[in-house]
Symmetry: C2
Subunit: 371 residues, 2 copies
């Protein structure tokens, strides 16, 4: 068996087939295909600390651990009825999954997938269960998540993963539908579905509680039908700026991170879905909801101008930059291919066959906070 | 042979023995020792894109490629008489080395270590050769370096590595002695030995030329003898702030990155050498020059207070954080050990034997710009 290092590996989700490709990004190629991963709608992936294993979270509650060196499934558990995403702890030892049904968070041993704790998302006087969204890892062996019906943000201390401690922030705004952590682990931002604005928690000063910001931004602004609710993991931080897809508008919003004010609106070619920063923060790439999802636009952060409109093919679903940003991979679902672009020349450099690819995840995510 | 992933590996330089340990950071341990690396004074290390190989730059001009999976030297070349450091290109295909004797930069194929180009550091009307310092990689397959005697900054485009193109910035200030690139690849800063202040090049707008900043800071401020000139790779960016060891003072300087003004001076326990940010930017750890090098101090970036003074042992030479910052490894030279601390509790968690350890480098550096 040829020795394989793990720094330049990735996983491409093939949603309809319930499979995933293991890929290499140095000499772009598929290394293998892993099948039997269940319902991969909205699938997301995190990586083990050593970058040997990928954990795939499926919509059907499936949690699958894939060995990137042996090209095989190590273990698969169906841990809930309806799952929405997951995260891995700072030390790499705990996998957390957020579930819609039954609503809550479960913690698993990253080695064995043994369940360590279950945290039902109870809220209100009747102890109802809420859907859980926006789950991310945070420094200090913590996780943060939001309760959609509960209107709460929870800060989960998992230092003792069999007895996690939960700090609850209540009445943070109506129906948080997704959230993100800034890449430095400093701020947690939840988007609100039931009212305008965002909920902001400063993890350096949680004692200050949750603030309401950007109260002019949000659902009531809608001018066109919302074909796809943008997920906040498609938001991006580029230097001093937070770039956000405007819900229901053909705009990317630029927010000044110093005071959380709206600095600029950038007109774009459709309703943005993912707004992703090149690792150095100089460029931001944007893809779009149907019927404009054949487009990808590139924004130069220097002056927030759109410098290029690409048409890679039908249904560009996701984008992932190589670790140091010299290339970007695009999942072009309806063309059954992944396309690679040089981010300096903005020209295509390769294309790889894939079955209805939806998500692309590279192993350097193992080193990043807040995913 | 047991399969080994490469995401949690590292190299510990054992300077006097001319050897290096390959270590694992998930289950802290030495995996192997590689000998025969020559003079490792001031040795530095970069990693291949796949994190399989470490390239060790020795003071004697030696460039050694180590296989972290097979625990062996793949190739070693002595490429100059006196070398000061190196870098790896954004795409991982080119190794650049900066040399004192003869002064210049050489480019090598990262696979084979074949020399691709030699760029003599000529300056002035007589085509004298300058020492080259402060060599870093930059986005766009570029390198940046400074000429100590030449008073120049060079921006090297290595897209065609056999015929690199050099853009020269002249009269940038007297005797640049070291430099850094901000982690986003945006700004290149060179410290000046021959005058006060720093030279600043905005790589997003190189046409603006090199600016002179912080003209009140620098060599003339010295109040105590300088035992060790801090190297700028010991500077750090934490959020909006640049933290800098004050030359010859018992202070860490805090510079506001928005306008490059001096925001604060933090009194510390000696002359700082390395000022290193935890990956999330919340903490900064500082070690010191002789005779205070038994101390390490931890600064909380929230309010720039010193929250802890540790005494790990005699001669703490270097510090390296694990990729997501839950732990830090300290090289304690005169105690012949590496010590590990939990960055949340600030308490020791492990110690590993090492022969006069000097530098520690983890494989996630493969993913970072500007090293």
């Amino acid at each position: 068996m040829e020795l394989r290092a793990t720094g330049d590996l990735g996983v491409v989700i093939e949603r309809e087939a319930g499979s995933a490709q293991i890929v290499n990004t140095s000499k772009p190629a598929m290394l293998s295909r892993i099948e039997g991963l269940g319902d991969l709608s909205h699938a997301s992936v995190v990586f083990s600390r050593d970058q040997r294993y990928a954990y795939v979270f499926g919509r059907d509650g499936g949690l699958t651990k894939i060995d990137l060196l042996r090209d095989e499934i190590v273990k698969r558990v169906v841990q809930a009825g309806n799952s929405i995403g997951g995260a891995i702890s700072q030390d790499g030892k705990i996998i957390a999954v957020s579930n819609y049904t039954p609503g809550g968070v479960k913690l698993f041993d990253a080695d064995t997938l043994e369940q360590l704790a279950e945290i039902p998302a109870v809220y209100g006087e009747d102890n109802q269960l809420s859907k859980v969204v926006g789950l991310v890892d945070a420094p200090g062996q913590r996780f943060v998540c939001s309760l959609f019906e509960g209107n709460e943000i929870w800060l989960i201390d998992a230092k003792n993963p069999r007895q996690p401690q939960v700090q609850k922030f209540q009445s943070i705004g109506k129906q948080p539908y997704d959230a993100l952590l800034t890449p430095d682990g400093h701020y947690y931002l939840a988007g609100l579905f039931g009212e305008k604005g965002l909920a902001l928690l400063d993890l350096w000063q949680p004692e200050l509680g949750v603030k309401h910001i950007l109260q002019d931004y949000g659902k009531d602004d809608e001018q066109t039908p919302v074909y796809k609710m943008p997920h906040l993991e498609g938001w991006t931080v580029a230097g001093d700026w937070l770039l956000v897809p405007a819900v229901g508008r053909h705009e990317v919003l630029v927010i000044d991170k110093r005071d959380w004010s709206l600095a600029k609106r950038i007109p774009v070619a459709g309703q943005p879905v993912f707004v992703m920063s090149r690792p150095d923060g100089r460029q931001v790439w944007v893809n779009f909801a149907f019927p404009d999802n054949q487009n990808v636009q590139v924004i130069d952060v220097k002056d927030f101008s759109v410098v290029k409109t690409l048409q890679p093919g039908k249904a560009v679903m996701h984008m992932e930059f190589t670790p140091r940003g010299e290339a970007v991979w695009l999942a072009v679902r309806d063309e059954d291919r992944v396309m690679l672009y040089d981010t300096e020349t903005l020209s295509e450099t390769a294309r790889l066959p894939a079955q209805k690819p939806s998500g692309i995840f590279f192993s350097n995510r193992a080193n990043q906070l807040g995913l």
